[in-house]
C-alpha cells in the first residue's frame, strides 16, 4: 500500500506518465525535430567492403551536385588530428579512414549540403576506389597464428587479440572438476544483435563562431559524459568544456545503443566548427543497423561440476568475445568483460573461474550493453542453459535442481565466488510463485501425455540474478570520473518544485518516477514536481541512464536531496510553530508538534516561508543538491517459466504461456515497472527466436535492414503474465533496485530452455539462439519426427 495519498502520488502509485500526453499527441521533440536557421545537412558515404585499402576518393562530381557545399574525408580531419578517436576501453577507432576501411558500411566520407536530398545525391556522386584486402570474419580464425593482422595501425601488433581477462580461482575450480561425480560441458553462442531502437542516432551540431560556443542536440544517454569527452578529445582544436553544451532532447529508445560516440557525431561537430553553421546528421535505418554498435557476440563454453544428488560444486566458463575491428565497448566498469563475472547466477557455487579473450574481426566495433549492465545477459544465458544441461544429465527436474542450489534467503548479503556481494534475495519464493502461477506440476503431466501422442511441448525455467546500478566507484568509472549520479531540487515559494537529474530518460518515464520520489519524500504532489534532464547547461553533472542505474543511483540522489530539504524545512517549521525541532514530527507533507496534531505546517506553507519569513541568520530558499555514490550494486532477480508448442511440420515455436515473477525491491510506479517488464520480455524473446546479425565470408552483413532483422511485432508477442515478490535492497535509500533490464536478461534462457525441453526426450541438449523454424525443423528431421 502506498504511504501517500492519491493526490500526492508518491511511491507505489501507478501514476499515469507525465510525458505521455506530448508523445501521444505527436508533440515530442526529438533530434530530427530540431530546425535551426541556416542549418545544413550531412549524409555519409559508406564502404561496400569489409576490409579494403582506399586508393582514392574523388569528390569533384559530388561537389558539382546542386546544393552540395563540402565533402569531408579522413584527410580533411587528419589536418586537425581528428581522424582517429579514443574509445572508452583505451582502444582507438577511426572517425574517417585515411588508409583503409575495416568493416562493411564504415564511414568513408561525409557530404555537407543545403538540404537532405542534395546530401544524398552528393553521396551517390562521391567516387571511391578500393583495393580489397583479406577479410577476417570468424573470431576463431582471427586468433589462429598466421591470420591476417587487422590493426596494422598499431605499431608492433602481430595478432588480432585485444585482451585476456580472467576472474576466480583457477586451480581450485580445476580441482573441483577433477573430483566431481558429474560434469557437463556445453558450447553456447550468443549471437550478434542490435538494439534497433525506434529512433536512429543523430545530432545537430551548432557552433557559434562569434561566441566560440558549441551546442549539440544529440541522441545520447549520457550528455554530461559526452561533454567531457568532447572537451578532452577536441581540446586541442579549441573546444573548451564551459563552451560546450550537450542537449539530449526526447529520445526514442536507447538500450545502450546511444551511449557510444559514433563517428557521425564527431564529423558533424567538425563540419559545424569549420563551416560555422548548424549541421544536422540523422542516420537512416540501414545505417543504424549496419554500422552502429552491436551487442553480445560471445562464444562461450560453460561447464558445471556437481555431486550425483545435484549439488553444484563448481562452474568454469571460457569465452571468445568478438569485438569487431575496435574495442569500442560502452562499458563503464573496470573489467574488459563488464559484469560477466555474475555468471554464478542464483546458485551457491563454491568454486568458479571465468576467462574471456577479446578479438578483432572485420565487423563494426562495439559492443554495447543492450539492455543489460554489460555482459550480464551472456552470463545469465550461460548459467541458466548449463544448469538445464546438468538437470538433463542427472535426470532431475530443472525446478528441483534450481531449488536445491539456490542461495538461501538467510545467506544474504551473499559473497559470490567471483567476488560480488549480492545485497538481498529470496530465490526460492520467486520460483515457487512462478511454478504455482503457471501450474507447473499439471504442465509436466500434460507434457508426458503429449509426448506419448507424438506432440512436442516444452517447459523452460530461468531463475536469473541481475546486477545493476553502476556503480560503486571502486568498480566503475568513465575516463576516471566516478559513477555517481545527481539530483538538484528547488522548491518554489508556492510549494511547487523543479528537480533536475544527471541522467537522461529514453522512454523510462523519469519525469514521472522522479517526481514520485520527490513526492514521497516531501509530500509535494508529483503533479507539482517538474523533472528536467539532458541539458548540460542546467542539469547537475551525472553519468547518464543505462545499466538500470537511474533509480538505484540518481533516484537515490533525488531522495537524499529531498531529505536535505526536509532538514531545512524542519528548521523553518520550528520557527513558524515556535517549537523546538526535537518536538516536531514529520508525516507526509507536514511537520506537526508532538502531542498537538492541530499545530502543524505543510510543506507548501514552509516553502512560502522559506522566501518570506525564514528565521534570522538562515539563508533564503529551499533547495538542495546531492551526488550519490552507491555503496554497492543492486541485485534484482526473478524466475520466469515459459511453455512452448512446436509445429512438427514447420519447426515453428509458439510461446503458449510465459509467467514472469520479478523482484526489483521497492517499487516507485507499478505500472511503469510492468511496462518495463513487458517491453523487456519482448526484447528478450526477439533474440531467442528472431533477431540475429550475421556476415558472409566476404564480410557482407546479413540482416542489415528490417527485411531481415526481425524485430517482433505485437503479433509475435505472447500475452505476458506478470507477478512479483518484493525484497528491498538494504543499502538503497528507499529499498529500490533497478528493473529496466531484468526481463531482457531473463527471457532468452527461459525460451531456449523450453524449446530444448520440448525436444529433450529425443536427446537434444542445446540449441543456440535465435531458435528459428528452420533450425528446429532440421532437428526434427534428423530425429525422424518431422511431419
Amino acid at each position: 500500500m502506498p504511504k501517500t495519498s492519491a493526490e500526492v502520488q508518491g511511491m507505489g502509485h501507478s501514476m499515469k506518465r507525465k510525458e505521455d500526453p506530448r508523445f501521444l499527441r505527436g508533440k515530442g521533440n526529438y533530434v530530427d525535430d530540431v530546425q535551426l536557421p541556416g542549418m545544413l545537412h550531412m549524409d555519409i558515404v559508406r564502404s561496400p567492403f569489409a576490409h579494403a585499402k582506399i586508393k582514392s576518393i574523388k569528390t569533384e562530381a559530388a561537389l558539382k551536385v546542386p546544393g552540395v557545399l563540402a565533402v569531408i574525408t579522413g584527410e580533411t580531419l587528419a589536418k586537425y588530428n581528428l581522424h582517429w578517436m579514443p574509445t572508452l576501453m583505451s582502444d582507438t577507432q577511426m572517425v574517417l579512414p585515411v588508409e583503409k576501411v575495416m568493416y562493411q558500411s564504415q564511414e568513408v566520407a561525409a557530404v555537407i549540403a543545403t538540404d537532405r536530398y542534395a546530401a544524398a545525391d552528393g553521396v551517390e556522386a562521391v567516387e571511391v576506389e578500393y583495393d580489397p584486402l583479406p577479410v577476417v570474419i570468424d573470431p576463431w580464425e582471427a586468433i589462429k597464428p598466421g591470420a591476417p593482422v587487422l590493426r596494422t595501425d598499431k605499431k608492433g601488433k602481430e595478432d588480432n587479440k585485444i585482451f585476456h581477462w580472467e576472474v576466480g580461482d583457477r586451480s581450485g575450480t580445476d580441482k573441483a572438476f577433477k573430483d566431481a561425480e558429474v560434469t557437463v560441458k556445453q558450447d553456447i553462442y550468443l549471437p550478434r544483435i542490435h538494439v534497433a531502437s525506434i529512433e536512429t542516432c543523430g545530432c545537430v551540431a551548432d557552433f557559434d563562431k562569434v561566441n566560440g560556443k558549441l551546442t549539440v542536440y544529440m541522441t545520447t544517454q549520457a550528455p554530461h559524459a559526452i561533454r567531457t569527452v568532447f572537451a578532452l578529445v577536441a581540446g586541442h582544436v579549441g573546444l573548451s568544456e564551459e563552451k560546450i553544451r550537450i542537449i539530449a532532447p526526447d529520445i526514442g529508445g536507447g538500450f545502450g545503443g546511444k551511449v557510444p560516440v559514433y563517428p557521425g557525431y564527431v564529423i558533424a561537430v567538425a563540419a559545424s566548427v569549420v563551416i560555422g553553421k548548424p549541421v544536422k546528421w540523422v542516420e537512416d535505418r540501414m545505417e543504424n543497423l549496419q554500422a552502429d554498435s552491436f551487442a553480445r557476440d560471445y562464444h562461450m563454453t560453460a561447464e558445471l561440476a556437481a555431486k550425483k544428488d545435484g549439488t553444484i560444486t563448481a562452474l568454469r566458463i571460457k569465452t571468445l568475445a568478438d569485438h569487431g575491428y575496435a574495442d569500442a565497448a560502452a562499458n563503464p566498469s573496470k573489467f574488459p568483460a563488464g559484469l560477466f563475472s555474475v555468471c554464478t547466477g542464483s546458485y551457491d557455487v563454491k568454486k568458479a573461474f571465468a576467462e574471456v579473450d577479446g578479438v578483432y574481426t572485420n565487423k563494426p566495433p562495439g559492443g554495447i550493453a543492450y539492455r543489460c549492465s554489460f555482459r550480464v545477459t551472456e552470463a545469465a544465458h550461460a548459467i541458466e542453459r548449463i544448469t538445464d544441461v546438468l538437470a538433463q544429465e542427472l535426470k532431475m527436474d530443472p525446478a528441483d535442481l534450481r531449488m536445491k542450489n539456490f542461495i538461501k534467503k538467510e545467506q544474504f548479503p551473499y559473497k559470490a565466488a567471483l567476488g560480488w556481494e549480492y545485497d538481498s534475495g529470496d530465490y526460492h519464493a520467486a520460483l515457487k510463485k512462478a511454478m504455482d502461477k503457471i501450474g507447473y506440476a499439471e504442465l509436466r503431466k500434460e507434457q508426458a501425455e503429449k509426448r506419448a501422442r507424438g506432440e512436442l511441448m516444452g517447459i523452460g525455467i530461468c531463475s536469473f540474478t541481475e546486477i545493476v546500478g553502476a556503480g560503486p566507484s571502486k568498480h566503475f568509472d568513465i575516463l576516471g570520473i566516478k559513477m555517481f549520479d545527481s539530483a538538484e531540487i528547488r522548491v518554489h515559494p508556492t510549494g511547487k518544485a523543479i528537480a533536475r537529474f544527471g541522467t537522461k530518460s529514453q522512454g523510462q518515464g523519469h519525469e514521472t518516477t522522479y517526481a514520485q520520489i520527490v513526492a514521497e519524500e516531501l509530500g509535494i504532489p508529483a503533479a507539482h514536481v517538474q523533472v528536467e534532464e539532458g541539458d548540460t547547461d542546467t542539469a547537475p553533472y551525472g553519468l547518464g541512464t543505462y545499466a538500470s542505474r537511474s533509480t538505484p543511483v540518481a533516484g537515490a540522489a533525488g531522495a537524499l536531496a529531498a531529505r536535505k530539504i526536509r532538514e531545512k524545512a524542519k528548521k523553518i517549521a520550528a520557527h513558524l510553530l515556535e517549537a523546538s525541532e526535537e518536538d516536531l514530527v514529520w508525516e507526509t507533507g507536514k511537520f506537526s508538534v508532538k502531542g498537538a496534531p492541530g499545530r502543524s505546517k505543510t510543506i507548501q506553507e514552509i516553502a512560502f516561508a522559506a522566501y518570506t519569513n525564514h528565521p534570522q541568520g538562515m539563508e533564503a530558499g529551499l533547495e538542495a543538491i546531492s551526488y550519490y555514490d552507491p555503496p554497492n550494486l543492486t541485485f534484482p532477480f526473478g524466475s520466469y517459466i515459459c511453455v512452448v508448442d512446436i509445429d512438427r511440420g514447420t519447426g515453428m515455436v509458439k510461446i503458449r504461456r510465459f509467467v514472469a515473477v520479478d523482484d526489483c525491491g521497492n517499487i516507485i510506479n507499478p505500472m511503469i515497472v510492468d511496462g518495463q517488464i513487458h517491453g523487456g520480455l519482448t526484447m528478450g524473446m526477439a533474440p531467442a527466436l528472431l533477431e540475429e546479425i550475421t556476415y558472409d565470408e566476404s564480410g557482407n552483413i546479413q540482416g542489415g535492414s528490417f527485411m531481415d532483422y526481425l524485430v517482433p511485432t505485437s503479433m509475435e508477442t505472447p500475452s505476458w503474465e506478470l507477478d512479483k515478490t518484493t525484497t528491498p535492497s538494504p543499502h538503497h535509500p528507499f529499498g529500490a533496485k533497478g528493473v529496466g533490464e531484468s526481463a531482457t536478461v531473463g527471457a532468452p534462457p527461459a525460451i531456449a530452455n523450453a524449446v530444448v525441453d520440448a525436444l529433450s526426450h529425443l536427446g537434444v541438449k542445446h540449441i543456440d539462439i535465435p531458435i528459428t523454424p528452420e533450425k528446429v525443423w532440421k532437428i526434427l528431421k534428423e530425429k525422424g519426427v518431422a511431419e
Binding site: E124, E716, W777, K781
Partner: protein, 290 residues
C-alpha cells in the same frame, strides 16, 4: 532512404496515363499503392525518371460479382478486399491471402493490381490467382485485353504487361457448388515475405471426386508457380488424406527455391509440401468434402 529525383505525373484518366507511359517507354513506372515501388526507389535499387500515379483516376477501386465473375478493380486496396462482405462470404481464400500480406498499415495503401503487376514471386496474390484460374485485364493504347493468369508471370519482376499497359481489373470465376480454397503461408514474422506459401482450390463433384484442382506456390522460384502436375494428379481422386499428401509431394517437386535467410533449399521445398498439404486439407473442408 532518399530516392534520386524523378518527375511525378497524376493523370486524370486511363487514356492519359497510357499516353504518358507511351511517351516515356523506357523510363516510366506506374505508381499504384507504392508499397513495393517506393522502397525500391528509396533504397536506390531501382530508378524511374517518371512516376505515373494512377491514384487520381476514378473507377479503379471496386469489388463486385458480375457475369459469373468476381471483378476486382486494379487499384482496390488490400484492406478493402480483406473487409469486403462478398469476399468474406464467398471467397475465403482471398481473405486468407489479403490478411497475410505485409501488415495492416501497408494493406491500407497496397493494391491488388500492384501486388500482381509487380511480378514479385514473393507476393501473395499471384499464387492464389493461379489456383483460382483468374484473368487479368490490361488497358493499353490499342484498348483492353484479357490475359489468363497462367500466361501472366514471365520471370522475376517480369509480366505479360506491355510497358504502356496498365492492369485495370482482376477477374475470378465465381465459386460453384462443392468448391473451396485456402491460402497457407509460413512467415518468420508478420510483414515478412513467405518462407513458403501455398494456395489450393478444389471443386468436388457430387460423387465426391475432385473435378478441378488449382495449386499455386509463393516465393518458391523465380516466378509464382502453378503446380500443374499436382493439380492433374488430384483430378478424379477422392480428396482423402493419402491423395492430398501425394499431391502435396508432387507440388513440392515443381519448386525451384533459392536459399536465403528464410531457409535452405531443402527446407523451403519441404515447406512447400507441408503447406500445400495443409492448404489442400483446408480447401477440401471448405468445399464441404470433410
Amino acid at each position: 532512404m532518399i530516392p534520386s529525383s524523378f518527375d511525378y505525373h497524376a493523370p486524370a484518366t486511363l487514356a492519359e496515363a497510357v499516353a504518358l507511359l507511351g511517351k516515356y517507354p523506357e523510363d516510366a513506372k506506374v505508381l499504384s499503392g507504392g508499397q513495393s515501388l517506393l522502397p525500391l526507389l528509396k533504397l536506390r535499387l531501382g530508378q524511374a525518371g517518371h512516376l505515373i500515379d494512377i491514384g487520381k483516376i476514378p473507377g479503379l477501386e471496386y469489388i463486385k460479382e458480375e457475369g459469373g465473375m468476381l471483378r476486382i478493380g486494379g487499384r482496390t486496396r488490400e484492406s478493402a478486399l480483406e473487409r469486403s462482405e462478398i469476399v468474406q462470404k464467398r471467397y475465403p481464400i482471398l481473405v486468407d491471402t489479403a490478411k497475410v500480406i505485409a501488415d495492416p498499415i501497408v494493406r491500407n495503401l497496397a493494391t491488388v493490381g500492384g501486388n500482381l503487376a509487380h511480378g514479385d514471386p514473393g507476393n501473395d496474390h499471384p499464387a492464389t490467382m493461379l489456383a483460382l484460374g483468374a484473368q487479368v485485364v490490361a488497358m493499353g493504347k490499342s484498348g483492353e485485353r484479357v490475359i489468363p493468369i497462367d500466361k501472366f508471370f514471365l520471370g522475376l519482376f517480369r509480366t505479360a504487361l506491355q510497358p504502356d499497359e496498365i492492369l485495370t481489373e482482376i477477374r475470378i470465376p465465381a465459386p460453384v457448388e462443392g468448391s473451396g480454397g485456402a491460402y497457407v503461408k509460413l512467415e518468420r514474422k508478420v510483414g515478412d515475405y513467405a518462407t513458403a506459401a501455398s494456395a489450393a482450390y478444389v471443386v468436388i463433384g457430387t460423387q465426391g471426386f475432385v473435378e478441378r484442382a488449382g495449386i499455386g506456390l509463393t516465393n518458391l522460384g523465380p516466378t509464382p508457380i502453378k503446380a500443374t502436375a499436382a493439380e492433374k494428379y488430384l483430378i478424379g481422386k477422392k480428396p482423402e488424406t493419402a491423395a492430398l499428401a501425394e499431391a502435396a509431394r508432387i507440388a513440392a517437386q515443381a519448386t525451384e527455391p533459392s536459399a536465403d535467410r528464410r531457409g535452405a533449399v531443402e527446407y523451403k521445398r519441404e515447406m512447400a509440401r507441408v503447406l500445400t498439404g495443409r492448404a489442400l486439407k483446408k480447401a477440401v473442408e471448405r468445399a464441404g468434402g470433410k
